[in-house]
Symmetry: C2
Subunit: 329 residues, 2 copies
Amino acid sequence: MLPIAVDAMGGDFAPAAIVDGAKRAHREFGIPIVLVGRPGEMGDTDGLSIIEASEVIAMDAEPGSSVRKMKDSSLVRAAEAVRDGAASAMVSAGNTGATMASALLRMGRIKGINRPSIATPIPVPGGTPTTLLDAGANAECRPEWLVEFAQMGGVYARDRFAIDRPKVGLLSIGEEAGKGSPFVKECFEHLSDPVWAAKAGCEWIGNVEGRDVMTDEVDVVVTDGFTGNVTLKTLEGAMKALINRLLVAIDTDDDTRAAGAALGPALDQMVSELHPDSVGGALLLGVKGVCVISHGSSSAAAMVNAIRVAHEMVEVEMVDHLTSAAAPG
Amino acid sequence: MLPIAVDAMGGDFAPAAIVDGAKRAHREFGIPIVLVGRPGEMGDTDGLSIIEASEVIAMDAEPGSSVRKMKDSSLVRAAEAVRDGAASAMVSAGNTGATMASALLRMGRIKGINRPSIATPIPVPGGTPTTLLDAGANAECRPEWLVEFAQMGGVYARDRFAIDRPKVGLLSIGEEAGKGSPFVKECFEHLSDPVWAAKAGCEWIGNVEGRDVMTDEVDVVVTDGFTGNVTLKTLEGAMKALINRLLVAIDTDDDTRAAGAALGPALDQMVSELHPDSVGGALLLGVKGVCVISHGSSSAAAMVNAIRVAHEMVEVEMVDHLTSAAAPG
């Protein structure tokens, strides 16, 4: 198998945490990896191979112009490695917009897909994660793009979470067909055409609401990239607020602190289940290659998970499945 | 003080839970109350006065036509009582759309307000609730309406939570001014005009993200009614999922169950802080009267809180403050 191209320079804790995660993914899971970036800044790479790239796109740089101008950046070189058959996938914790732009411009779009979309798995306590897309690639969407998101999300949910026939819902503000904004009503009409679901092996279940996202009522939630990103960040904020509040409750007095200590392992398990790092990053679906976008704040552990997801999606041939589902006719 | 008109017939547990809550609010807090609905179904009302109404708008009825046709419904009669000076405010746990329509059609709009908006307080652990609006009254909005929402939300946050100069933010997908959908960018421009904030005594802090909602970084979050409703329901779902997951963690073994028992009061306190019932329902802002919309699933305790909020908003003269802030010129 071709190596996974890991952008060593992207992320709040790059390159140290990234290189560390890459080494662990190679050592613990035998995943072939090529690091992309400035060799002099990577430290000891345990002999992992390297694609040299002299430039680094900053976390807050303007994505489009950066990718156009910085042709020797780690992000652009990583995407080129996939395009040129030197790598099987790319993984970055860097600038999300620049990651998308690099992948789109260098790998190109899958035929039949107008816009690539970011698919983010949302943890479901005691259940299978729900895939939310678009989680932020397209702040404004045309209704027909959501059909493509639905197909891609369905294929991804099957390949990633082994869901036989993923239930796909449209995020709205009421379950009845007539509920929502004019945009959502148009999306509903497009999604009600049975052809796409048959091609993608999905079940279209109609509108779902925000409260359904963290349940097994739905496997794939489609929405525009603005609503999707707001939903994702609202969930992240809620998790953080609740876990902090729980720590306050435990810190009430000596008795509750002792109880908290006894609950330690069970609570650690709960927090790690709900932590965004545990699901291994988001995927940019719709480009001709596997592209994993990890949190900017990714730790080495998060990178291990992101690299494992990239590896799995290559092995299961997700891009081929997306290509078949999206093929016109 | 004029009584609060309580729709005895609206809500999943009406009329029993509603009448029970009304009696408790009267008994425990001395709030004057008039129940609106079918006297024969109310049971013992402890001598609370009654406005008779023979019809009941069902929870799933189409709001507009119901309000137009059912002129002797409890919702329409409650709104008329406010309009006619027989009540100081209305409270309902019934059909949300019909509550809005009744209030709008019978009380009318405050001058300078194009569209009433639902303001929902979001619990902030260890802090002051954040007011989110529009939480669902207007699935599609014009950018200029968000300025009205911002003014109304600011006045409400000051009157309700005693925040001297509420920080008002626009919900977007990035903090920089240029981030968001074309609609949000237009809203940002309108909101950047300093006049509205001065009139409402607010501080405009620009874009905020979903992760800021449950923090004290922002006091009032404005958005369109679609995004607001998705955000609200996503938060409700996240709270429920997390609390259920916590119960699973506590139920791991005998040691964790014992620890859970020791944590009991601290966890109860946490859950009640985060429960939507504890904040006392949403307000429909922009109509000429106080209108509290409580959860359909309201318990008697939720009704007590909703009635208390209505009473407080009457006492503090919130509608006068809204009227001054929205007055043209």
